[in-house]
């Protein structure tokens, strides 16, 4: 892992997604003495994915390993934030957040509201999720919808290395609690120029990954790659998709999506989470609620409503890949 310590000078560095996360953490630890960074295996070992390597060495005891105690990790983050620190904590897999979900929903999200802003809880929770070959049902879920039903909590999901950097820096700077959901399959990937040290962004906004006229496709996280691959293929067939990656899911860019869907007259949402109760429903409901006239009924694609099996052949039969996305979109637009 290259030394990302020059983050403060605005310049572009060739970094993977994981290295971009590291660079963002380094910048935050460097610029904000009130930050703390902790979680399981993140300090001395540098993280199970190597993402936090070198930070303990360089920032000392503001960076530390913890027991396997997610309630203690998240709860202590709430308390440290109430008392003026700015903790950045890692929950190794989003699935594990469920052993301590109380601390997110009943504690963290209430701090500012109940105290009318007298107390705040600027906690950043980094986690990662998603399906990867061979992972079992307890290590494969995409759970963003659970967090998106919790008012008081900001949520983002970077897909590019640049966003892995920018969103995390924005999250740490935010005075609200923010959940940053990364994707472990991306850590070693996406090596490319990442601009470091730029201005700190404000939570919100989306990325227009592709402009198009036949349909608006809203997506986020690792599915973005599949959607873009599908869109590229469909373009050759003369189907022009507008691909919007909603890197921030709370706050959600409703207006921009409504505008795009109004222009294209068709809306699809593609995510890796189970379809029923997924955040795709919210996107469809918002657009429908605005009365956007659509040529075809809105389409939702995601993991069908099952658990996630371990065998690659089984998951492949469930989670739509680029071809399946393209096929579904093609069929949908032809009806």
């Amino acid at each position: 892992m290259p030394d990302t310590s020059v983050a403060a000078r605005p310049e572009a560095r060739e970094l993977t997604y994981g290295e971009a996360v590291n660079a963002a953490l380094r910048r935050c630890l460097d610029e904000r003495p009130d930050t703390l960074l902790y979680g399981e295996d993140i300090a001395k070992p540098g993280g199970v994915f190597g993402v936090t390597r070198g930070l303990r060495r360089d920032f000392g005891d503001r960076v530390f390993d913890t027991p396997i105690s997610e309630s203690a990790i998240l709860g202590s983050a709430v308390g440290a934030a109430m008392l003026g620190r700015r903790p950045i904590v890692e929950i190794m897999w989003v699935d594990f957040s469920l052993v301590a979900f109380d601390q997110v929903v009943n504690q963290l999200a209430n701090v500012r509201y109940v105290s009318r802003g007298e107390l705040t809880a600027p906690v950043t929770i980094r986690t990662q999720q998603g399906s990867a070959p061979g992972a079992c049902a307890q290590h494969s879920q995409s759970l963003e919808a659970l967090f998106l039903h919790v008012p008081g909590l900001r949520v983002c999901m970077p897909w590019t290395a640049q966003d892995a950097y920018d969103l995390l820096v924005a999250a740490v700077a935010s005075d609200d609690p923010v959940l940053v959901i990364e994707n472990r399959t991306l850590y070693p990937a996406g090596k490319g120029p990442v601009a470091l040290g730029g201005p700190v962004q404000t939570p919100g906004g989306l990325r227009v990954r592709r402009e198009g006229s036949d349909a608006t496709v809203v997506t986020w996280g690792a599915m973005t790659a599949r959607v873009l691959a599908a869109a590229a293929g469909l373009a050759d067939e003369g189907i022009s998709l507008e691909v919007l990656e909603t890197v921030w899911l709370n706050p959600f860019p409703t207006d921009e999506i409504v505008a795009s869907a109004t222009r294209t007259g068709a809306l699809a949402v593609v995510h890796e989470a189970n379809v029923t109760g997924g955040f795709g429903a919210e996107v469809v409901a918002r657009v429908a609620g605005r009365g956007v006239p659509l040529r075809v009924p809105p389409l939702r694609l995601g993991l069908p409503d099952t658990r996630v099996p371990a065998a690659p052949s089984l998951v492949a039969g469930l989670l739509p890949g680029p071809d399946a996305v393209a096929g579904s979109v093609r069929d949908w637009l032809r009806t």
Partner: protein
Amino acid sequence: MDGSQPLADLRQVWRMRAFEERVRELRLAGDAVGSIHLGIGQEGVAVGASCLIGPDDAVFATYRGHSWAIACGVEPEKLFAEILGRATGINGGRGGSAHLTAPGYRFFGENSIVGAGAPIACGAALAGRHDGTDRVALTVFGDGAMNQGAVHEAMNFAAAFSLPVVFLCENNSWSELTAIDEMVGEPQLWRRAAGYGMPGERIDGNDPEQVRDRLGDAFEVAREGGGPTLVEAMTQRLVGHYIGDADQYRRPGERERDAENEPVALLTRRLRDAGVPDDEIAGTERAAREEMDAASAVALAAPPADPATAKEHLYA
């Protein structure tokens, strides 16, 4: 022993008790609504602890936390108003009886999720390690909370990192309507401390003097970098779990024992033994009731929380 300290203690016990008895009246009259949990009978613990809480310290209590808010110095008027859902409440009506928060008073709040305050307190202690204070975080919870995973995680977390946390278990023998001794294999709850590698002890929570002394040791150890302690303070609630609880699960002899042990009885005996005149003793109650009558009257006169503000302060 000279009577001035027990007299001051009794005065404080009475302030807490008069406050809560007034709350009970307000609840029964319908001025306050919802579940309200009184700590009547348990005041000795908060009274004994109050002088230990330093300016940078942080207290985390439960839904049964009125007395702890008072111990931290929150004005009863603001607490009454909060419980009554008034705009002038310490949280503008958002917290209510069970989720009071007063950070300006070192009271980082009640918590209505059993055990959830313990890990949060660890964070307050952790913050102190980095902000240059000598903060001790005090987390108060019940006997039943000892069986909650979060409390376990907090105790180990604090012990592993030698955090300045004082774990104070108010053992009132009951978790809601269930006896703690039927819900554990070892009813001496303080004995769990050793497994975490921290000191633990059981004390008489009805005696503010003993609380001050023994909990004081725990504060001192924590403040000087010696890490956490678990203190099990034996006490009793003289009332139901919440206002309205028919409270019919008590064991034979329990009420009599409780009446004898509770802090007003204990301190009154002690004051009499020290030769303090009955009138002076009775004066503590009188003064407290007057204070709480006045404070609650002010709160009652305040307007209800304004619905137009209900959506504010969700985000920065």
